[in-house]
Point group: C2
Chain length 335, copies 2
């Protein structure tokens, strides 16, 4: 039985990944995994209740003994988020850089060469030094992070590449797109509105879009993101070759196209709940983000499906809300 | 009086830089600096004896209090070398990554926004993932380090870029070429022969070249390297723009061209002391190094002179040996 670890398993993507691995373990694993989930916050009750799951709650930095206990496969998703790291410089270094080093050292000490999928981010990209933002980013684009979060993610990518070159692990870094539609409430992230302008109107609530309708950005659904993480875990090194950081599939859309999709899926009354109020601070941050991404390796070589359209991303959110029994609140704005 | 720190000041390049700054302080410093030199090994007596110098001997990791004492300018050259870091994985992490973090944190705590020149390396480059080595590398080349040394240098470049973006320091990373001709004995570095095939024949000793005569590599003289480090320290941020890592000027030569230059400068009898004996291990390592580098920013924008030719690099070594009174031993192979 494969011994699998997910860090940050209490998060939105982590918990979905855990449920997916329990329901649909990759064929090459030969059955359900023994799944260890760790997070600094309590884990979802449905996962804790599963007999195949071991739950470990506590800071990443305290788990050195756990990390060296001999996993076959590791999904490393734990991370302080972008906004937090900009406000608290030491938090980013401690959580995202030192936390990853403690994990990697534990895996090296264990000595059993696990496969490691690391959740890096599109935040590694930024305007080229002295130049403009490239129109489309992919793995051949020179990274130029404009946040501490993106800096630490990129540093960890290179560290993981070196642990891999040395034969301590088999590491693969996934550069995640902005994941939408996120359920729940708006958060402090500058990217929060990409989910908010879909989620709030569906719930019957007015949403404010702080950027121009022509603002473009690469997005991916939660399910596409989970499938990409699993695909990267099981991808053959012969196919990956020396590529160690992979840009995940994206739907490249403008805000105007997102709202057109919302109208197609949910009707004009829902769309009409979005109004524009320019916010210079947020627009300034977003202007330093890629406008589009190309998944050269993930789509071209590995065949990850990605999302067919932004319409399907909205539909996935609607289906999720219905399945979870939240239609009465989350979808009460739909006719 | 400018308060200037050099780490790794006991090394070959560090000591030369210190002597240069004492003899020729940059005009913008308005006179001689108060120069603090630190190294884990004892510092050269001529530098320790200078009234303007404060010498601090000890490991980098023990100098947090020193680093936060309020420097205006820092040259961070201290580093375990490539070969050591490949043999001792933890040494590289501790010396080159953690050591740099302790320095940067000290400078941040001091709060006076020093200008920092970091000695990075051409070792950040390597064969593009899944592709071949680019024919010529420059700052727009995607880094792909193939050693722990190069990995940690690149991670530090990005960390320094983030400290700069946050306004804690004004950082500039210099990607140093292989510096030749190094005086002294051969060392364990795979690049050792680039100096050895010039130095040993000049001293009347036979030298073995472990690679093919058509092997190409970018080299720079010690003096050119020192001038570039000083030039980067005083370069205007308006000219550098957002460029934070700069590839230093190189003379791109093949081994055959190096030996032709040796014959021109020192005669055919000297050249005849080099014989070829292929070493698969060393040739394999060198095959992953850049064959040529282009100093787009350093030459094009900043106007660093670099070395005019490999002949002049050999002549610089000969002049250095004469000045130091070592001609009788170091040059006894010359007619």
């Amino acid at each position: 039985m494969k011994r699998v670890l997910i860090t940050g398993a209490g998060g939105f993507v982590g918990a979905r990944l855990a449920r997916h691995l329990l329901a649909n373990p990759p064929a090459v694993w030969g059955g359900s995994p023994a799944l260890t989930l760790t997070d600094q916050y309590p884990l979802p009750p449905d996962l804790v209740a599963d007999a195949r799951v071991t739950a470990v709650v506590g800071p990443l930095g305290d788990q050195a003994a756990l990390f060296s206990s001999g996993f076959d496969a590791v999904f490393h998703l734990a991370s302080a988020v972008s906004g937090e790291c900009e406000l608290d410089f030491e938090l980013g270094l401690r959580s995202n850089l030192d936390g990853t080093r403690i994990l990697l050292e534990g895996l090296r000490q264990a000595g059993n060469h696990p496969t490691v999928v690391f959740s890096s981010s599109i935040a590694v990209y930024g305007p080229d030094p002295g130049l403009l933002m490239p129109a489309v980013v992919d793995e051949d684009t020179l990274p130029a992070p404009q946040t501490s979060y993106g800096t630490h993610k990129l540093m960890c990518e290179y560290l993981i590449a070196d642990y891999t070159r040395k034969g301590f692990i088999d590491g693969r870094s996934a550069r995640l797109m902005t994941v939408a539609v996120r359920p729940g409430k708006p958060n402090g992230a500058a990217s929060s509105f990409f989910s908010g302008i879909i989620r709030e109107p569906l719930a019957g609530v007015e949403a404010v879009c702080p950027v121009d309708p022509q603002t473009a950005h690469p997005l991916a659904s939660p399910q596409s993101t989970v499938l990409s993480l699993v695909g990267l875990m099981t991808a053959s090194r012969d196919v990956l070759k020396r590529r160690l950081a992979v840009t995940l599939p994206a739907v490249n859309v403008t805000v105007a196209e997102m709202l057109d999709a919302l109208e197609r899926v949910a009707g004009p009354a829902v769309r009409a709940r979005v109004r524009f109020a320019h916010d210079a601070r947020i627009a300034g941050i977003v202007a330093n983000w890629p406008r589009a991404a190309k998944a050269t390796t993930a789509t071209g070589l590995l065949g990850f499906p990605g999302d067919p359209s932004f319409d399907s991303i909205i539909q996935q959110y609607i289906d999720d809300m219905r399945l979870a029994g939240h239609a009465a609140t989350a979808l009460k704005g739909m006719a």
